[in-house]
């Protein structure tokens, strides 16, 4: 490990890059965290949903649609998909770790569907956004990443506000904490659960669109995100709206700084050691 003193512009540009990728971790983690924390379902298919949405975005865009506009079609579709999946989960009373198994099966199916429609080839969405960037205070800001950041922050705060300040959100959190009591207070858990699961899937699809905007897609790539996004979700606190974004950004920035000052191949050790230290020193009080 050789340390080099980075220039200021290198460091700040790298941190910016870490923030962008961290925002994507957070955006991907948001729905996962809500579903895990509030519905007690570990939805591995969240990644499959994101990739399915990314491919749909790619497809619709190559057919001439604006990539961002594809969300008009994609988001409601995934809301329905998520709600449908949740209906099945509730119908069969699937337990948390069984949900992991079930959604793993679903992920395999999604991967096959993607591979048979779009082949195993790499697909890159060449949109009008891809080329755009601007310079701000000496730093380059690419537009696709900025879109991701804005969506991640916006949606995170929107979800946070809904959970915190609306009756609906309070009912959701109550139902997660103590289902029988919530039921006694007239919370319609079934409808709430369906709505929440739909929202989670919709969030996954937004993350998918962001993925399509700035990354190249391949069917098996969906597994590459599982580890780091799981980490962001768990570090951020299950069911927390702000957690995944904060934790994702922390991971992204710490990796980016490591890459800027020393061998990039050591980057995972820094973020994951940081994570372990946080867990051991401040268990349960993360983010």
């Amino acid at each position: 490990m050789n340390f080099t003193l980075p220039s200021l512009s290198l460091l700040s540009q790298s941190i910016l890059s870490g923030i962008f990728v961290g925002a994507l971790y957070g955006l991907m983690g948001l729905g996962l965290s809500l579903s895990w924390g509030l519905l007690r379902l570990i939805n591995l298919a969240h990644f499959a949903f994101a990739f399915l949405a990314a491919y749909l975005c790619y497809q619709l865009s190559t057919m001439g649609m604006d990539p961002l506009l594809t969300m008009v079609v994609i988001v409601p579709a995934f809301f329905a998909l998520g709600a449908g999946l949740h209906w099945v989960m509730v119908r069969f009373r699937v337990m948390p770790f069984n949900s992991l198994l079930l959604t793993f099966g679903l992920t395999g199916i999604a991967e096959s569907v993607i591979q048979s429609i779009w082949t195993a080839d790499f697909r890159k969405l060449e949109s009008s956004y891809a080329q755009q960037k601007f310079k701000l205070a000496g730093l380059f800001v690419p537009v696709p990443e900025l879109i991701t950041l804005v969506l991640a922050v916006g949606l995170t705060f929107a979800v946070w506000a809904v959970l915190r300040y609306t009756d609906l959100g309070r009912a959701m959190r109550a139902a997660a904490q103590d289902a029988p009591v919530a039921a006694a207070f007239g919370v319609n858990q079934k409808a709430l659960g369906l709505a929440l699961a739909g929202t989670c899937a919709a969030l996954a699809s937004v993350a998918g669109v962001c993925l399509a905007l700035s990354f190249t897609l391949a069917p098996s790539q969906m597994y590459a995100w599982v580890g780091v996004v799981f980490a962001a979700v768990m570090l951020g606190g299950l069911g927390s709206a702000l957690g995944p974004l904060v934790a994702g950004t922390v991971i992204g920035i710490s990796e980016a700084i490591t890459m800027a000052v020393t061998a990039p191949s050591w980057a995972p050790i820094v973020s994951f050691t940081l994570l372990i230290v946080i867990l051991v020193l401040r268990p349960g009080k993360t983010a």
Binding site: L10, D121, F140, P142, S220
Partner: protein, 404 residues
């Protein structure tokens, strides 16, 4: 059992001989008799499937062509291919199945290093010839009857970088400073380490050396460090998407290296990227003269293009992977035809003592580890197309390495 088979063979040979005589010389005879079965596995699902689909398509095309030409030894050829799910341990088990349960007559190799080594172990235990597609680290091939279809020579970590730096030295702007950035993927890291040695020996200055873990997602900081180092030339030891991701990241900070080389890029996406102009890479084959005059090349490039388009591939051109795959089949066919037998020992001896005419030219297998010459060529993206620019004898239409 054994005698029965032999007599059956004799009978079939006799039938074939009669058929051959009857049909005359102008037309290929209809293959007859029980098929010759050739077994292999490919990573049709899982993380390696993007490249495996190329090899599957090539295999299908070749076997079709072969059967149209009359098969092997007058018998039709059947390709038994299984999906190793990108897992080397499953590849090993499946090759054992091919040999011991399916009792295939011949083996054909898989394509990724891990799977090739798994298959090689099985081939060694059962004394089978193994022709394999793209083994990146020749020193790992320790079996006497394995034959590489990818002619990178026995020491590519020295020869390939030398070819590249020769090309650069002859270019209008020979670089003086070099940045080496590389993935820690085994076959990549090995070549990048060689490149570092070579550039040191040639008196070039290494201004930056970076390694990243395979599976890295954020290339922003790496791009920034390359930009800061201001190299004349960047060696990008990248596999698959990594080259694109790095290029994307460079573009985002408004940087394009003066000259850049990508080791094993996913060819389609790199070509499609507008920022990849002048990007260099290495190849053993391109669908352009003089390569197209090699054995079977012109026809194959045409058929592959059609079939790849029909299968929905993003890249329909023939380059390293498809060419190595086709070559592997040509080598195996040459061995069988040359010995007129399916005997593995005989085929191996024949291949070691004869040159084989293939898509890549004449190949020999008498070097260290059965590797022959390093036929890696340097190509460059010019006007949205890959053009071979070095060495001179394989360039077409006076193509030259462009340096902005």
């Amino acid at each position: 059992m054994k005698t029965g088979k032999l007599s059956g063979l004799d009978r079939r040979a006799a039938v074939a001989a009669i058929a051959f005589a009857a049909s005359g010389f102008a037309f290929a005879q209809q293959p007859s008799g029980p098929p010759i079965r050739i077994g292999s596995t490919l990573a049709l699902t899982g993380p390696l499937s993007a490249t495996a689909q190329i090899h599957k398509l090539v295999g299908e095309i070749y076997v079709e062509q072969l059967n149209k030409r009359g098969g092997l030894l007058g018998r039709p050829v059947e390709w038994v291919v299984k999906d190793d799910q990108s897992k080397p341990d499953l590849a090993r088990t499946l090759y054992e199945q091919l040999v011991t349960a399916d009792k295939v007559d011949l083996l054909m190799g898989p394509y990724a290093t891990g799977a090739i080594l798994s298959a090689m172990g099985v081939a060694q235990r059962y004394n089978k010839v193994l022709v394999h597609h793209t083994l990146g680290i020749p020193s790992l091939a320790k079996y006497d009857m394995q034959f590489p279809a990818w002619s990178i020579g026995s020491d590519p970590a020295t020869t390939v970088p030398n070819t590249l730096f020769d090309a650069l030295a002859a270019s209008p702007k020979p670089p003086k400073t070099v940045a080496v950035v590389t993935s820690k993927f085994p076959s990549i890291q090995f070549m990048s380490a060689g490149a570092r040695e070579v550039l040191k020996k040639r008196g070039l200055t290494e201004v930056l050396f970076l390694e990243w873990d395979f599976g890295n997602r954020d290339f922003g900081p790496i791009a920034n460090r390359v930009k800061d180092a201001k190299p004349d030339f960047v060696w990008v030891g990248a596999i698959g998407l990594e080259g694109n991701l790095l290029l994307d990241a460079m573009k985002k900070i408004d940087y394009l290296p003066p000259q850049h080389f990508y080791l094993y890029p996913a060819p389609g996406p790199l070509l499609a990227s507008p920022d990849a102009r002048n990007a260099l890479s290495a190849t053993i084959f391109e669908g352009q003269p003089p390569f197209t005059s090699n054995l079977g090349a012109a026809e194959f490039v045409k058929i592959y293009g059609e079939r790849a388009a029909r299968a929905g591939f993003t890249d329909t051109s023939v380059e390293t992977q498809a060419a190595a795959s086709y070559t592997a089949w040509q080598i195996l066919e040459a061995g069988v035809v040359g010995t007129k037998s399916l005997d593995d020992k005989a085929i191996a001896n024949y291949l070691k003592t004869h040159k084989v005419d293939t898509l890549q030219g004449k190949l020999r297998f008498d070097g260290t580890g059965n590797f022959g010459d390093d036929l890696m060529r340097i190509k460059q993206i010019q006007d949205g197309k890959w053009v071979v620019v070095w060495p001179k004898e394989v360039t077409a239409g006076g193509a030259k390495l462009l340096a902005p």
